[in-house]
Structures are given as C-alpha cells and as structure tokens.
C-alpha cells in the first residue's frame, strides 16, 4: 500500500508538487496551499492510503521537489 502524508500548514504554496504529481495534488484557490486529493485530515496532517502503485513515483518526485519537506511517501 502507498501511504502519502502532507503536513499542510507548513506549505508555502510553491506549486512544485502539482507539477510532479498533478493527479494527487492541487493548489487551493482559497488559501494558496496545496491539497492532497482524497486525503484524510488528522490535526493538520493529511493522509492518503492507496493500492494504486502508479501514484508512487510521481508522489515520490513531489516529495523530493518540496522545498519545505512536508510530503512523505511510504510503500508498505
């Protein structure tokens, strides 16, 4: 299972994650920060669990590109 976590409150809205993984991330027009699509919120940490391994590589690239290191990707 692929587990993606986003610590959203620290997002600086740079848009790089959207460039790397547009299927999983989208910039919010409301507050200018990124949204992890279908992520579940738990105290500001948004988590997505998925069995679709196709999202693994783009999300890993997004995590690498993130300048504030708020995206983590696990492959369990």
């Amino acid at each position: 299972m692929v587990i993606i976590t986003l610590q959203r409150n620290k997002c600086i809205g740079c848009n790089y994650c959207v460039e790397m993984a547009p299927q999983q991330f989208q910039m919010s027009k409301k507050d200018g920060k990124t949204v992890l699509l279908h992520g579940q919120d738990k105290k500001g940490f948004f988590t997505l669990k998925s069995n679709d391994y196709a999202i693994l590589e783009p999300c890993e690239n997004a995590a690498k590109a993130c300048p504030v290191n708020i995206i983590s990707v696990k492959n369990n």
Binding site: I12, D31, P67
Partner: protein, 414 residues
C-alpha cells in the same frame, strides 16, 4: 535636522516586543506563506494581525505587512484576504513587489510600499510607482550621492504618493546583503528546488566553493573562499551622511534573527539616529555601538555601496562572527507582582551572580541584564545549577512562556 523612521524586523512576538521596547518607529512582518521568510519555523498567522496592530498602536508604531514574494494565480485569493484583513485590523501598509498585490491593495485603499525586490534606481521609476505607493525602498546598489539626487528631485518636482504627501524614500541600514538582487535569485531554486522568490532561500551562496578547470580537472580554492557571500551591511558609522541623503525610513534586516538581535540592533540605531538629530553623534559613540553590534549575529561588516568607493567585501566564514552567544538555562515558572520577583526553573547548565542573562518571551521580548543577586531554593546564593529554582528581582513580569539564557563569549573562527 529631520528625524528618520527606524523600521525593525519582526519574525515573531518575541522580536516584535523587542523592537517596541527598544525604540523602533515601525515594524515589518510576514504572515502565512507569502513573504520572504516563508521557510521560517515560526511565522505569524492571519489571526495574529489584531494583536500585532494592538501592541504597535499602543506605542504609536507603524505596521507593515510584507507581501513581497512572486505571486501565482492560486495565490490571488489569499492575497486579497490578507490585504482585507490588514485593512480591517488597521495595519499601516503592505510592502509589495508584484503588480497584482499593488493593484489589489490600491483597490482596497490600503497604503502600499514598494519592496526592495522591485529594484528602484531612478527618479522616473519613483514617479511611476508614486501613482500607487507612498514609500519606496531604493535598490541597494545606489550610492548615497545617487540617493540624495532622487530625494532632492522628489522635493523639487513635488512627487506625491496616493496619500497626498511627498513620496518617502527608504533604504536598508543594517543586516544581510544578497549576492543577487534581494529576493530575486534562482540559485537556491537551481540547487534545491527551493525558490528565494517564494521566501524559501536556502542561502547556498553563503558556502565555500571550488573552481574546477574542465579540461585538466585541476581544482582551485579561491583565495577568498566565500566569494558569493557578502559581509553584512552596517551604516551606523556614517549615519549622519545617511540622514543627510534625505531618506525618511531606515530599514533593519533580520526577520529570521533572534529577539536579542532585534533588541540590540534597534537599540544601537535608535541611539545613533537620536544622536544625529541632537548633534551629539561622534566617533566615540560609533565605537561603542560597533562593539555592541558585533555581539549579535553578523558575518563581518561593510558599508555596502552607499559610499561608492568600495567593491564587494566578502565574508570569510559560513557562520556568524558574533562575539557573544546565548546558552539556554531554564524557563520562567512564576512571578510575584508585589515583591517584583521572577522565578525560574534551571534545566541546563548553571548561572552565577555577575553573569549576563537574557530573558525572552512573546510578551517579554528580549531583556538582557547583569545578575546582581538571586536566591536558590529560597536561600541567598551565588550560583544556581540544574534542578534549582531560581528567584531574582526583576522590573518586568515573568511568564511560563519565557526562556532564560546566559550570555557567554563566542569564540570566533579566524
């Protein structure tokens, strides 16, 4: 002689209070992600705006919200929200670079200041931005002679901003200098995907680099290893000339710095500005201020390009040249208002009578003093160590959020 406005950085409530306590006339700060210190671990949020405005208004200090990053489409809504909230909470002005921010602020009748990233270097540009802005920072590459030409022309040609007053010119007075146009640099983006233009500069220009001959592979370390890392700007030793140049605002850099940095630098520049105004500014005072400034974070000092004659001066180390540093000792636990006694729990290291201590906190700011007497576990003592409860007479209230530090000498690498 006219009095100029001293503008202080405020990265958090500790620094804000330190600026207010030490004589700043105005403060600038960022909220949320759209400011040049977006990476900072502590940043104000939009909900802090009323408290910032309240504290500053009580001291008649002007408040400037920095909204000076590059702006993407997805930022436009939050920009509008921030400006609206700034207006509602009576923040004095927004500091802007992007035309969208300038336009939105004007639409909402918010005072605009043009940020350093715009790189204003001539009178025609001043005229252009006077259509939207009341204050402008000039580019750091101008000499004081050039600055004076611009301020003279503003006066002569009566160039006024939207508020109906003559446009005010602001320059940087103290703090870090960028190798590139401040906040307009791709170096951090190239190396770390971390854009300075979004307030995420990783300062890789501050490092040591080696030059390699591609043909032979021969490697060479430059004589001056930190060739891309300028020393910090310091203008306190020619502040009289700065004032003579006709500027209205002197800006101090350092929203990422500790509260004691803000306290020390603002105090020195406050004294210096007042001394210039009352005619007591002299060499002896400059020496004292320089010694004080050297105690807090710095990368060595130079006068920037204001005096015209010097080429860039480069730092000879990656870190600070500060002659002092702080060591964490413990935290505030109680305050006895009647007897004006503060109580601290010592959690690390030790502290003795005669030491210089620093107490910081969101409401306390940064208070530095020499310890004359204290009690340990209710008994008069000369030394307190880990685990002790320390009580000490203080002129201000101690809060549980306050931290106690000891100031010690910092060994500077040659």
């Amino acid at each position: 002689m006219q009095h100029i406005e001293l503008m202080a950085p405020a990265g958090n409530f500790e620094s804000l209070q330190a600026a207010l306590d030490n004589g700043a006339n105005s403060v600038y700060f960022g909220v949320e992600q759209l400011n040049m210190r977006a990476r900072a671990t502590v940043n104000f949020t939009i909900d802090d705006l009323p408290e910032i405005a309240r504290r500053c208004e009580a001291k008649n200090v002007r408040t400037y919200l920095t909204l000076n990053t590059i702006i993407y489409d997805h930022d436009l809504s939050i920009v509008k929200t921030l400006i609206k909230q700034a207006k509602a909470t009576k923040i004095t002005a927004v500091i802007a670079m992007d035309q969208a921010v300038i336009a939105m602020a004007r639409e909402l009748d918010m005072e605009v200041h043009i940020s350093t990233q715009v790189n204003v270097t001539n009178i025609e540009t001043v005229k252009f931005y006077a259509l939207f802005a009341d204050t402008m920072v000039l580019s750091r590459e101008l000499s004081l002679r050039q600055v004076k030409k611009i301020t003279d022309a503003i006066e002569k040609e009566q160039i006024k901003g939207p508020n109906g007053n003559l446009v005010e010119i602001e320059i940087f007075g103290h703090g870090a200098l960028c190798m590139a146009v401040s906040g307009k640099c791709y170096m951090s983006l190239h190396a770390y995907n971390s854009s300075a233009n979004r307030g995420a500069c990783k300062q890789n220009c501050r490092k040591k680099y080696t030059v390699v001959d591609q043909e032979t592979g021969f490697e060479m370390e430059l004589d001056n290893e930190y060739i891309m890392s300028p020393k910090d700007l310091c203008t306190i030793d020619f502040l009289d000339e700065i004032v003579d140049a006709g500027i209205k605002v002197l800006k101090i850099e350092g929203r990422g710095r500790a509260p004691e940095y803000v306290a020390k630098v603002i105090k020195c520049y406050r004294d210096a500005i007042d001394s210039v105004a009352d005619g007591t500014y002299d060499k002896a005072k400059v020496i004292t201020w320089m010694q004080e400034l050297e105690k807090v974070y710095n990368r060595g000092f130079w006068s920037g390009y204001y005096l015209g004659q010097k080429l860039g001066e480069w730092s000879n180390g990656s870190g600070s040249h500060a002659t002092q540093k702080k060591v964490y000792i413990g935290k505030g636990t109680h305050f006895y208002p009647k007897s004006q006694i503060g109580e601290f729990k010592i959690e690390a290291f030790d502290v003795a009578v005669g030491d210089t201590i620093l107490i910081t906190g969101p409401t306390t700011g940064a208070q530095e003093m020499e310890v004359e007497e204290f009690m340990v576990n209710d008994i008069k003592s000369d030394k307190a160590t880990k685990g002790d409860t320390l009580t000490i007479p203080l002129k201000f209230r101690v809060r549980p959020s306050d931290k106690l530090y000891k100031i010690v000498e910092n060994k500077v690498e040659a």
